[in-house]
């Protein structure tokens, strides 16, 4: 599973808060962040995440979610797996049912990453 939280404090960023706008990302950092954003960058997965997050109790099972779409159950399952692998959804199996909930810390980290820096960046090139 991709670990976005780990990104928030990479060695080379010890000097600073996490933000795209503070300094150029290394290729490796960009690869990792892109994995998480790719997981989010799909209309079905955005809706799945928003449905799960705003569901009563903050969680929903696959059967709840499948009803919301005109897509096959395996397709929904696939999208949930992508979100889970990216660390954006947490998974808990209870009996026959599997419940998903939003991983708030991962979303918070991602949002912080995107938020423009308030302070002007130090002069750098690449």
């Amino acid at each position: 599973m991709s670990n976005l939280l780990a990104w928030t404090a990479p060695p080379e960023a010890a000097e600073c808060c996490s933000s795209l706008s503070r300094r150029p990302l290394s290729p490796a950092e960009a690869d990792e962040i892109a994995l998480v954003l790719k997981a989010l960058a799909d209309p079905v997965r955005l809706r799945l995440l928003s449905i799960v997050a705003s569901h009563p109790g903050g969680e929903a099972c696959v059967c709840d979610l499948t009803e919301c779409f005109e897509l096959s159950q395996p397709t929904i399952s696939h999208h949930l797996k992508v979100l889970h692998s990216a660390g954006l959804l947490q998974r808990e199996k209870r009996g026959t049912w599997v419940y998903y909930r939003a991983h708030a810390a991962a979303l918070t980290s991602l949002a912080a990453l995107i938020t423009p820096a308030v302070e002007p960046a130090l002069p750098r090139s690449c």
Copy 2:
């Protein structure tokens, strides 16, 4: 050009702040947000945006950017176009050079969208 800023106050969200976690996104909203996230969800484009944003003066021309990658100049130009079309980069032509800068408001909106809601969501299904 996709207009993320417009999303921040859609008619059906008048009740509330903008957040994925507040209520289920409509399919149309999800499509629009996905367009912006798709633009961000690429390692090269993430690096381009971070380089532009942290460049002295907050802007960089294409020639500055091409040096940072082992990719052809048309490829860089393509990625810049994607970011610009998504509203994440602003473009200004001065003489022969084209300067890009990060669109801070768009990034702020996107970050707000991803940030988990503090208040519990109202009970809703899809």
